[in-house]
Amino acid sequence: VTELKSAADIEQWLLVRLNERLDGEQVDSHMPFSFYGLDSMDAFELTAELEEWLGRPIPETLTFDYPTVSAVATYLAAEPVAAETGDADAQASSAAAVQALLAELETPAHDRVPPQT
């Protein structure tokens, strides 16, 4: 059984690997790989290392579809966003948002001005 890594773990691992590959340059996880001049061969090698570390197969085109450290880490960890988990709080907040919006839309416009010419 492979251990499931968190997005933060994967992000940290990628930042260290890229830092080595880029001779010590600090990598911003929100800047595209193209910013760091990473090409298809770099991406291929990085994906292979990542596969070994995670112990599971990764699509070859991963860095095309997920072009930053942040995107790769989020995708591989696939943690549901808090508000998308369907828990009771999220549902209540969603219902409140619907009500607030419909109430606004039913509000008559008081401050009407003549049509523009």
Binding site: P32, S34, S70, S93, A100, P108, P114, P115
Partner: protein, 507 residues
């Protein structure tokens, strides 16, 4: 007689602001916009072939079914998936044909993935090929000898598409564009002589979509207003038709900003009366030197901000295509782009870095100047094949990522909506509220986190007393733009907080 089983595939585009991901829950339909190329191919086919259409934005590709032929189409944005799908079918021993805009403009990329390659428009070559195919002998390449007369293009067989799978139905009204923007590949593929469908034919296709249930329709046109007389004739017919409908259709199209000249304002009024609610305009940049350099002369005739407000004041939302990375662009251009878009009040901005596409004059010029470079990761979405003139590639990317964050920070999006709403005409009667749509919007936005969940209610407040059509479209788009930036991983509120891109230490 055993009919040939043919599958036609529209591949999923790569992630970009043009690909409209993650909006199915908001629009209540699987995909945003219909592709009518494939239904047109169905209408062109002889009875000996039985065609199935699969749009990957709507449903998965049936790789393992038994097809005599698989055809794949696509634009540049679909190029990677197009080749993957072709290869996947080859592994299963199928015969694969590839055609469409990308195959026509970049045949050298597509050729290794295709048994049969189509170059140019399909109205003549596709039926000729199918004739050959039915007889068992065909060529490896079919090239359209000339630009087709649009009158000869049949009415697309949209009954072959999943019913109401899209937010937007499509009627193609013309092909080609008379302008000569240096970066544009449309004129390379479709030519500078515009070819039109007659108003009667346009109505016939609108009617078909209306009967199928579509109430939002994109008039697919490289430049709807380039020929003023034809635009007026078509819109007069549409106005008369649309006013007869129980539920008038909302129309979208593409036009150029020069339709806001004083003498053309009656045409703009007519467009609004006919039901035009949204116009994609290639504004590209507020940098006049860049517009001159790109030969985008039609954008240099007036004051761009006034021009945008003239369109908005007729109840038409402007959706802008913007480009960063022209030779005349400097470090200051990114900030100027931002200020311009905020002041113009353009909620929907499709920003990309300039790329030198196959076949364009830009490509030729930069090749001569030794300023082309390969794309690093095959897709152009966050990369360019150009070596910029007044900055490095890193600086261009830094500025572009800053601008994307700046534009799509919630407060800046709302600010643009406010300017847009302020320029919209007031509506005197109370418009019915599309409750189902707004419920979907509120639910979807409430899943985006505390910074974004109040956007629908805040923006609805700005639109009190106005037709909310543009707001609805803008909220659908913004939902997808947030998804694109987050899925790319470039969403970064720290960038949005900076007054200018931080070019320090970026060489």
């Amino acid at each position: 007689v055993i009919r040939k089983r043919v599958l036609l595939v529209n591949p999923l585009p790569s992630l970009s602001l043009y690909s409209w991901p993650d909006v199915a829950d908001v629009i209540g339909r699987p995909a945003y916009i219909m592709n009518i190329a494939l239904p047109t191919l169905v209408a062109l086919a002889p009875p000996e072939v039985d065609i199935t259409i699969v749009d990957e934005a709507v449903e998965p590709v049936p790789f393992d079914a038994d097809w005599d032929l698989v055809g794949v189409t696509g634009y540049l944005t679909q190029m990677r998936r197009m080749c993957e799908i072709a290869d996947e079918f080859h592994r299963r021993g199928r015969t694969v044909a590839i055609g469409g805009p990308y195959a026509s403009l970049s045949p050298h990329i597509v050729r290794p993935h295709a048994d049969i390659l189509f170059i140019g428009e399909a109205e003549v070559t596709w039926p000729a090929f199918l004739q050959d195919f039915v007889q068992g002998h065909w060529q490896a390449e079919y090239r359209s000898a000339e630009l087709v007369d649009l009158q000869s293009s049949p009415i697309p067989a949209i009954d072959k598409l999943r019913p109401l799978a899209y937010a937007l139905g499509v009627v193609q009204t013309s092909r080609g564009c008379p302008f000569e923007c240096e970066f544009c590949d449309v004129i390379v593929y479709l030519g500078r002589k515009q070819r039109y469908k007659t108003p009667a034919r346009v109505l016939e296709e609108l009617e078909q979509l209306y009967d199928t249930g579509y109430r939002s329709i994109f008039l697919s046109d490289d430049n709807f207003t380039a020929n003023r007389q034809r635009a007026a004739e078509t819109m007069l017919a549409i106005r008369e038709w649309n006013q007869r409908q129980a539920e008038p259709v909302a129309l979208y199209t593409q036009l150029s900003i020069d339709v806001t000249r004083d003498r053309d304002l009656p045409l703009l009024d007519l467009c609004a009366e006919a039901g035009l609610k949204q116009a994609f305009v290639g504004i590209e940049t507020p940098n006049a030197d860049a517009l001159r350099e790109a030969k985008k002369r039609q954008n240099l005739q007036g004051d761009l901000i006034r021009d945008v407000h003239r369109i908005q004041s007729r109840g038409i939302m402007v959706q802008a295509g913007m480009i960063a990375g022209f030779d005349s662009d400097t470090f200051d251009t990114f900030g100027q782009q931002f200020e311009f878009l905020q002041e113009a009040g353009i909620p929907m901005v499709l920003l990309a870095m300039l790329n030198a596409l196959d076949g364009t004059p830009l490509r030729q010029r930069l090749a001569n100047e030794g300023r082309l470079k390969p794309l690093l990761l095959a897709d152009a979405a966050l990369d360019t094949n150009i070596i910029p003139k007044q900055m490095t590639n890193r600086q261009l990317l830094k500025g572009t990522v800053w601008l994307l964050n700046k534009l799509y920070a919630p407060e800046h999006f709302l600010q643009r909506l406010r300017v847009f709403a302020d320029h919209l005409p007031r509506v005197s009667q109370r418009l019915p509220v599309d409750t189902e749509f707004w419920e979907r919007i509120a639910t979807s936005y409430s899943s985006l986190g505390p910074d974004l969940r109040d956007i629908p209610v805040d923006s609805a407040r700005l639109f009190r007393g106005h037709d909310p059509h543009g707001l609805k479209a803008a909220l659908v788009f913004y939902r997808s733009a947030v998804s694109v930036l987050r899925r790319w991983g470039v969403w970064d509120p720290r960038q949005a907080a900076l007054p200018q891109p931080d070019f320090r230490s970026v060489a």
